[in-house]
Amino acid sequence: MTERVAIVGVGWYGFRSITPEVSYKEMMYEAAVRAYHDAGIDPRRDVDSFVTVAEDFNEGTSIFDEYTPDQMGGVLRPNETIPGEGLHGLATAYMQIKTGLIRVAVVEAHSKVSNILHPAHILAYAMDPVYNRPLGLHPYFIAGLEMQRYLFETGATLEQCAQVVVKNRQNALLNPLAAYPAELSLADVLDSEPVAEPLTRLMVAPPADGCIVMVLAAEEVARALTDTPIWIQGLGWANGSYSLENRDWVELDYVRQAAEMAYRTAGIRYPREIIDFVELDDAFAYKELQHLEALSLCRPGEAGILTVEGATSLDGDLPVNPSGGSLGCGHLLEASGLARALEVVLQLRGEAGAHQLPDVAVGMAMGWRGLPTTSAAVAILARED
């Protein structure tokens, strides 16, 4: 019951703006095969539980969990779908293993967002049907409001937000998984077309297709399987108020709570001293700043300054989104958080390639479910000491 849990295998497909060469099933299969090979397991023999993360209206299929087991190797075994953030799936598999009933569990999340023909309509369908949706506004209005108030409250600037985009898309140039690497200037970002002012087009993470699969195992199994287990040291997740009217627009209480839970379960008192790098949600550029602050990795209003100073760059004190984040890799719907965790695993294993960070031992992944939600999850991962 107190046994630790490790990530012992990872696999992925993508990330690309479109993936017409594979069906979603084939995409999941490719990622799964890679993860099982990485972990050295046979899913038909070695896996006790399969957890997939999916939402019906992102797939265009009601009761989408139907279509998950075959290509994962999960037929006639425990399977469960989590309509949540990818990291909620990770938390689910973690809890299952912690009970002692499950020894090896697999987590999968994917995006076939290119198959959704009217994504804004789907997002709008997530808003309150009586109070908000009838206004007929593009859901980006929520990000526009939040960004404006964030700038107002903290004194953060448009340039600081733009710098996040410049940094993340530049990081993506070194990441072969990334769908949107680019060399941009601040002016490119600031002058791109406005979508919900002050938010501009290039401050919005562009969508991408892709899939991530992870194999989790209880300590004893993990040690038998691999010399480089990546331990799940802490996990946290929380929801705020769903309603636009009653949510906390400034403090992001749900991110704070998720982080506090993760720090508590990891036994971390001073996160800034322990965490070597962070992969966090940057669905909108300002969110990277806001999330850094809500994760208590810097003071309110400080994130933008740190970004401009280069503290969050690849060679900075606290690299943030070395993968390129969602701005550089592409936003993978509910798979986004798992994509962040994938990068943390690769970094901790020393397998990140051209954007490998030196001497990293503890990394953090953070996911947000995106508009219009107040739902976040945090994972703290560490390599063997």
């Binding site: 009601s62 804004a120 206004l135 007929g136 209005f141 526009g144 108030r149 009653n246």
Partner: protein
């Protein structure tokens, strides 16, 4: 081992088109029914108050999401307030640029802890500022919908 066969040419890639063909009919609910009746019949905003949390909900809730108490204390609140945040929306739901961008806002209504979500009208984007006083403009013909409020305009 992954796929042992792959598509070789673009014309082999097929996309099958379809939809989720549904419509929905939503009730307004216990609190919503009264809230929208008041808008429809009396053009006024009614909120509920949680005495335990001292929190006033607008739109009203039938229960307090913080402490779960049933909320029975209804209060009329003024249909005016100040802009807490605003944004200029340039896209419609089909992602097409709007000819005339729309102004969406969070509005602090006097006596409420909630922020009201609606659009602004009778004002140019560059004239709006955080803290600007605004008031609701109700439609002449009202159906009991949130769009019975046409928009909020500067006071």
């Amino acid at each position: 081992m992954g796929l042992t066969e792959r598509l070789r040419r673009f014309d082999e890639a097929i996309a099958w088109k379809g939809e989720i063909p549904l419509q929905n009919r939503y009730t307004m609910g216990l609190a919503g029914e009264r809230f929208f009746r008041e808008i429809k019949d009396n053009a006024r905003l009614m909120a509920t108050h949680c005495p335990q949390c001292d929190y006033t909900y607008l739109p009203p809730r039938s229960y307090c999401e913080r402490c779960f108490a049933e909320l029975t204390e209804w209060v009329e609140v003024p249909s005016r307030g100040t802009v807490y945040a605003y944004t200029i929306v340039h896209l419609d739901l089909d992602e097409h640029p709007l000819d005339k961008p729309r102004l969406a806002a969070l509005i602090e209504i006097e006596g409420c802890d909630s922020l009201f979500v609606h659009c602004l009208g009778e004002v140019e984007p560059e004239e709006v500022y955080i803290g600007m006083p605004v008031e609701a403009v109700f439609q002449e013909k009202r159906q009991g919908l949130i769009t019975d409020i046409a928009y909020f305009r500067p006071l």
